[in-house]
Symmetry: C2
């Protein structure tokens, strides 16, 4: 019988969380690990689809790229931003269509989904509902101990959603 417990056996295994900022042209993604209260950025970026392409092919690209990300990182939780409607109905339809494909993909992999409104994301990261995009991005940088704000914006937004999801997990 070992005298000491192995430190490896004691170690918690990190939870992998994927945050997604849905869009038809740009779907931001951010992958983080949560170990205890420690959050670490693993990857982030944006799934881009060209404007002059059939809508069904743009949705297929989102589906395929998201499948690749899920297979690569095996997230245990996916956070998806809710759709904010005030600005433009046409954009909202396009984003909702992309969002449907994202929720379907998460569902096909049996990964639990949490959803946050833009207001909830701002409140969770800055405690201020009127926070600017830049203030939220600064908090992403600080919380994840990054050297700079991740680019593009969608990637930083997706990391913010992943941080929100980690706080709920």
């Amino acid at each position: 019988m070992p005298k000491f417990k192995s430190p490896i056996a004691n170690r918690q295994s990190p939870i992998v969380i994927l945050g997604i900022d849905p869009g038809l042209a740009d779907t931001g993604f951010g992958v983080i690990e949560k170990l205890g209260h420690q959050l670490t950025a693993i990857d982030c970026g944006s799934i881009k689809t060209p404007a002059k392409t059939l809508i069904e092919n743009r949705l297929k690209t989102i589906y395929q790229e998201l499948n690749k990300l899920i297979k690569k990182y095996r997230p245990q939780l996916i956070g998806v931003e809710q759709i904010f409607f005030a600005k433009n109905a046409k954009t909202a339809i396009a984003v909702s269509q992309a969002r449907g494909v994202i929720l379907l993909t998460a569902g096909q992999h049996h990964i639990p989904i949490v959803e946050f409104s833009p207001l909830q994301v701002k409140m969770a990261l800055t405690s201020y509902g009127q926070a600017s995009k830049n203030q939220v991005e600064q908090m992403v940088k600080i919380i994840l101990k990054l050297k700079s704000i991740p680019k593009p914006d969608d990637a930083a937004d997706a990391l913010a959603i992943a941080i929100c999801s980690a706080n709920q997990s």
Copy 2:
């Protein structure tokens, strides 16, 4: 050398068209065959998803059932109703998410998609943009030589979209 051409060799093969009226709770579908100017109803119905179910599971049901329909009838053209926005933003988001999954599914099977607004459907079937739901359904019954108006409403609407698509094919 045969004296007469075989009537079978002369026969055009029919085009199979699938019309879809997207919805999260009820996605109507209608399958018709077009041979020359003759349209024939093959099947219609509604993919239903229970309200108290996770959104991702409802979208998975739509994806799976639509895949089954496509494998069964092998449509060469899919017509999908566009989203009409005036009434309720929340419903519009839900329908758009379902619609994204429908477009993705059609795209994965490499089937061309045509899209129609509710106004275009009314104009195509009744030549009257202010036509009532019942007037459109009566025209579906007449054009497809049905004994009665198909039920549920979503199925009749989907057949109307299939007829529109046939006129464009």
